[in-house]
């Protein structure tokens, strides 16, 4: 194999339809996750995002057991999850973290029980957790695209309340709209993202796609739309690179993609640290009387 050859980067895709489908699916997932993930990162929803990603498991398993589409099961599972968290945290006055943790492990255990006793291998646990990126169908692509459109529309319509929720919750509460409603709406778009994406990258790895690209974006930008743009680019490029890695080095596709997103974040974070260190060094030599409080990125 000649590494100098450009074909190394394109031939896998031109020769194999299944890789083209995987690439398109991955990019759609990346963009959807970029939108939802920006809110997850800015609003600190990573834990409940993770909980949703795993909490849908019994829903998916039950649906497959009943011969119903796994997507419907995932939708039901996420509703149960969110309702449960809401009830436990409000009614029993336990912290949000505790409520999320309880529902998370309960639903996950339930899901494992169901799949381990299922008489068919269609509800295979590892396939739900890790996805089947290399077996993407055009039906999956349509579903993913619809989810992207829905998430984008909701995020656009609710952009001002969402922005306020991320930046200053106190201000949000006094601004005349129900912060609880928009918080739940935010959770809903995360749920939709998870539900649409589990068939491609799997529930375990959706979380990676939600967080790492958006976290990278948040290192460089402060405007939500810019963060989303950077996240989309990082996610899409990671999909491409991850698939190439899977092809050339015989590694699992979904995991390669997610690991790439995390490595990109690590590289970006290192870059910003170095940049800051250089800038700080430069400032030490001239003594400035004023503080640098305003120069923090976040």
């Amino acid at each position: 194999m000649t590494w100098l050859n450009n074909n190394v980067l394109t031939e896998p895709f031109t020769n194999n339809e299944f890789l083209r489908l995987s690439l398109v699916a991955g990019i759609l997932v990346a963009i959807t996750c970029a939108i939802a993930g920006t809110f997850v990162v800015l609003r600190g929803l990573a834990f409940i995002g993770d909980a949703l990603a795993h909490g849908v498991l019994p829903g998916i398993a039950t649906a497959m057991l009943l011969g119903v589409s796994g997507v419907i099961g995932a939708a039901v599972g996420s509703l149960v999850m969110m309702a449960g968290v809401s009830v436990v945290s409000r009614r029993f006055r336990l912290s949000g973290d505790t409520a999320i943790g309880l529902l998370f492990v309960g639903m996950l255990a339930l899901g494992v029980m169901i799949t381990s006793r299922s008489r068919t291998f269609v509800g295979d646990l590892s396939r739900i957790l890790f996805g089947e990126l290399l077996g993407v169908t055009t039906g999956d692509l349509v579903l993913q695209f619809v989810a992207l459109v829905v998430v984008a529309i909701v995020a656009f319509i609710a952009r001002r309340p969402f922005l306020l929720l991320c930046v200053d919750e106190g201000l949000a509460k006094t601004s005349g709209f129900s912060s609880r409603l928009f918080h739940n709406l935010m959770l809903m778009i995360v749920a939709i993202t998870v539900i649409a994406s589990f068939q491609t990258v799997g529930t375990l790895l959706v979380l990676g796609m939600l967080i790492a690209p958006a976290a990278t974006g948040a290192l460089f930008a402060r405007r939500i739309s810019t963060v989303m743009l950077i996240a989309s680019l990082v996610g899409s490029i990671s999909t491409y690179v991850g698939l190439l890695i899977s092809y050339h080095f015989d590694l699992a596709a979904g995991a390669s993609i997610v690991l790439t997103t995390v490595l990109v974040f690590a590289a970006a974070a290192t870059y910003t640290e170095i940049k800051k260190a250089i800038a700080d060094n430069g400032h030490e030599e001239h003594e400035h009387p004023h503080s640098h409080a305003g120069s923090h990125v976040r």
């Binding site: 299944f18 409000r90 169901i114 299922s118 089947e132 077996g135 015989d250």
Partner: protein, 333 residues
């Protein structure tokens, strides 16, 4: 206590109850099955005084049944439809195994979830018969990944990184009647001792049936001319070796279903299928059906589902092998 709070609690409890009902409906059915012996229909509960033979999966379970007849109750631990490669036993399953007069398992690390239980029995001197110890095991040489035939540069790059998780050899030994014949004497004497009866008559009868079966399969396959096999995971090795077929490759090129397909291997598989003009790929337990369908579509060939790891409703081992052979022959002709 505010009214809305108790209404919410009620809704939550009802949802939980419904979910609980769904779960119990979905997972009804015992984890272990008593299967029919050829002589009589075994009752669901163990007949008093009859020794229990615990077999891990139904294919070998049927062989055992044909040998012991009504001298014992045969219980199959991994019920049909569950993947024996990653089946996780319940406490009840483990109890069944521990209390059996004899445990018959595949060996060669086939039942990954039962490894520890079976090892414990062997270590503590219990009665366990592992089929894999009494046959000629099919192995893969290091560096030559799964008999790819003339394979340009790829075999060298892959070496032995991930191809075989189990270096002990191919566990799918039940797919060749000749291999079954190889272990039959040892199995018969182990069973005879466990049930306290002389089973040589049954063994002779079964030997004849298996020899006839072997001949029948051979004539079906030899009438094909070329027999190039692509399977879900590397499961057809013993069958291929016995009847002169070539294992071209597999979607998951591993002896176990617990590995994942990678883009590189799938692309390589496509090239091989085109090179050897394979008319169909066989998929089944543990393989992603979508991946198989997509591959078949791209290559313009058929994707055929085979039931290779469990009896799937047929009455005995002979029928199981014949069905499999006919499906393969039909797909490849």
């Amino acid at each position: 206590m505010p009214k809305s709070g108790s209404v919410n609690l009620r809704k939550f409890l009802i949802t939980a109850l419904l979910l609980g009902v769904l779960v119990s409906c979905g997972s009804s059915g015992n984890s272990t099955n008593s299967i029919e012996s050829t002589a009589q229909t075994a009752p669901d509960s163990v007949v008093a005084d009859l020794p229990v033979i615990a077999v891990t999966y139904s294919v070998i379970g049927n062989i055992v049944s044909q040998l012991v007849g009504d001298n014992a109750t045969v219980t199959v631990v991994i019920s049909d439809g569950q993947d024996p490669h990653d089946f996780q036993p319940s406490a009840k399953d483990i109890e069944t195994i521990n209390n059996a007069a004899l445990v018959v398992s595949n060996g060669l690390e086939f039942e990954e979830g039962l490894e520890e239980v079976l090892e414990n029995i062997a270590d503590s001197g219990g009665n366990i018969f592992m089929v894999g110890e009494h046959i000629t095991v099919r192995k893969i040489e290091n560096g030559d990944e799964h008999n790819h035939g003339e394979d340009e540069g790829h075999a060298d790059e892959h070496g032995d990184d991930h191809g075989d998780k189990h270096t002990g050899g191919d566990p799918h030994l039940w797919l060749s009647p000749a291999t079954m014949l190889e272990m039959l004497p040892a199995l018969t004497s182990a069973l005879s001792e466990a049930v306290g009866a002389n089973l040589s008559a049954e063994a002779t009868a079964l030997t004849t049936k298996l020899q006839d079966l072997d001949g029948e399969v051979e004539s079906i396959i030899s009438s094909l001319g070329e027999c190039n096999l692509v399977s879900g995971h590397d499961e057809l090795g013993y069958f291929a070796d016995r009847y002169g077929c070539n294992v071209i490759g597999a979607i998951i090129p591993s002896f176990t279903t617990t590995s994942e397909a990678t883009a590189g291997e799938l692309a390589e598989l496509k090239l091989l299928v085109e090179q050897y003009k394979v008319p169909a790929i066989f998929t089944g337990l543990g393989t992603s059906p979508d991946t198989a369908t997509q591959l078949a579509k791209e290559l313009n060939i058929k994707a055929v589902t085979l039931s290779t790891h469990y009896l799937d409703g047929v009455t005995n081992y002979q029928e199981f092998i014949l069905n499999l052979t006919n499906q393969i022959a039909e797909a490849l002709s």
